[in-house]
Subunit: 331 residues, 2 copies
Amino acid sequence: MRRPTLEAVAARAGVSRATASRVVNGQTTVAPNIRDAVLRAIDELGYVPNPAARSLVTQRTDSVALVVSEPPTRVFSEDPLFSTVIRSASVELETVNKQVVLMLASSASSHARVERYIAGGHVDGVMLISMHGADPLPAALSRLRVPVVSYGRPAVPVDIPYVDNDNVGGAELAVRHLVAGGRRRIATIAGPQDMIGGQDRLTGYRNVLRDSDRRSIVAVGDFTRESGAVAMRQLLGDDPGLDAVFVANDLMAVGALQSLRQAGRRVPDDVAVVGFDDIEAAQYTEPPLTTVRHPVVEQATAMVRLLLGLFEGGPADPVILPTELVVRESA
Amino acid sequence: MRRPTLEAVAARAGVSRATASRVVNGQTTVAPNIRDAVLRAIDELGYVPNPAARSLVTQRTDSVALVVSEPPTRVFSEDPLFSTVIRSASVELETVNKQVVLMLASSASSHARVERYIAGGHVDGVMLISMHGADPLPAALSRLRVPVVSYGRPAVPVDIPYVDNDNVGGAELAVRHLVAGGRRRIATIAGPQDMIGGQDRLTGYRNVLRDSDRRSIVAVGDFTRESGAVAMRQLLGDDPGLDAVFVANDLMAVGALQSLRQAGRRVPDDVAVVGFDDIEAAQYTEPPLTTVRHPVVEQATAMVRLLLGLFEGGPADPVILPTELVVRESA
DNA sequence: TCCGGCTGAGAGAGCGCTCTCTCGAAAGGG
DNA sequence: CCCTTTCGAGAGAGCGCTCTCTCAGCCGGA
């Protein structure tokens, strides 16, 4: 009880396999009556082309890998960003009938697995989400002669086109807002310095402070809520007189708000807080969080289109998307 | 500049293609010296088997589809459950070297796409995450003669093995806790009644109230935070004297806490609140949320194993996992 | 009437692999 | 010493499809 083949369709329609193939692939050089006969046969037999056979000859698979190169727990549960990217990319790829193969590359062994898989030609291209600088995967994949695009600028310089948002500019926006609000002692909770987002947002902070003749007060977190709380306590210890803090992501900002509350500081009266990312939860903090929004969905979509462009021999130029300050009540 | 084929490996090693294939597939009937020669050739040429050619003859693809049949926005951003399931299932499948093809089936058109894809034999099996009763996909897929397992009992009776947690029992646990705490007027915010989780958790609530001779006070939400807030306001309007509420998921519970705060009720002094799911955020609410934990990771893992079992002709019996009450401060 | 051009359909090779069948050689028993 | 058994390796078919090449048939122009 095997699935019907193109051969069977051809036989039933009384044509050759080649003609049946032409109809299946929508070629126009088939007479209407013959085309109809084939379509009827396909319908009656419930024919569906065998993808393996097809891709054996076409050398295409019509699927792309979405490689998430982060420890799995971080990926989903903590940071809603990843989820949004995955979803948006999936939706965008659906529109061009490509499938998403999701690969989580957390450990070294899974890196090897991913490499083998990609090298095997299972997919036509790769979308890489990798935030850590130490990650060897971007370099490894770029060697594989497979179209690869990256979500976010790769931390090590490597010849992969990427889509990123303007982290430096966004941070500048945030800190300038604090300066404009009359804040004098503006601290920052920076992200991990082995991550591009962490680096660039700190750069933006420093740029503005330098220009506005203020002293920088820096603590470093690792983008988790907990680390934000710890860093905030540390900052308050270091400089009890601070009146503003720019936090490199919202998750840490949530933790910082918690610490500020525990320390009896009113936000924004005593201390103004600006986050980064504009995650869902930023609307529900107490008080609602002023933050820098970057277009996650657009970034994912742009990444897909960049990859699709690569398939067609399009340009491999990076895409940088603008950020925007969302003013709520915390600053 | 094509990728090397098995033919090339065989030629280089001075053996036949058949023997090379034997080595690649780890058969033991190859003399050690020949095996080494082949392995060396593989290494030198950087040979990787062509999956299309292989699955053309083996009729296997070594990948499974993870079909998420929910509106995309709900899937990821709102409910961390989905993400955890996807992650856990991926990790578990990695261990047996199977790939995950992620498919989001939100609209009717994407349903058709998914069906076509599955029918095309792209994957060896399907894991279905579908929560809505009206969803036609479970029935459609079960007709496709492809191994299918479901995360959660399908809402319409359909012949698919599933892994679920004990929703009724979990709800009973929660409500019994409220009864044991001396609460007299115990309301509930139920989930959507076209979802199994929504139905069963309401059933559990009713079971306990019936046995303990209390009146049931029901509002219905749709598992979003916002709907929880609305439902809570409604309950307070209906019965200002209520002293406890069982909320069918944590997301709605967060909304409910917000409404209670706005209404000036203290939790748990005036009103005790119990949620369901034990999401991450439940630890960070004010006060921390007492809730029913169900083993999401274990459920996902069990689903994978159920599917793998099906491949081997194993049993197609449903698996029900126990739930557990996590007592924090809200009740 | 003949011929060249064009359109539509068939023949058949070949994509890269697995797996059965076959066969030679080595080993063991009578 | 010969015959049977076992083991290791090769030959070759075939998985289901695409795509090039070929060719039949028709039309129009000279």
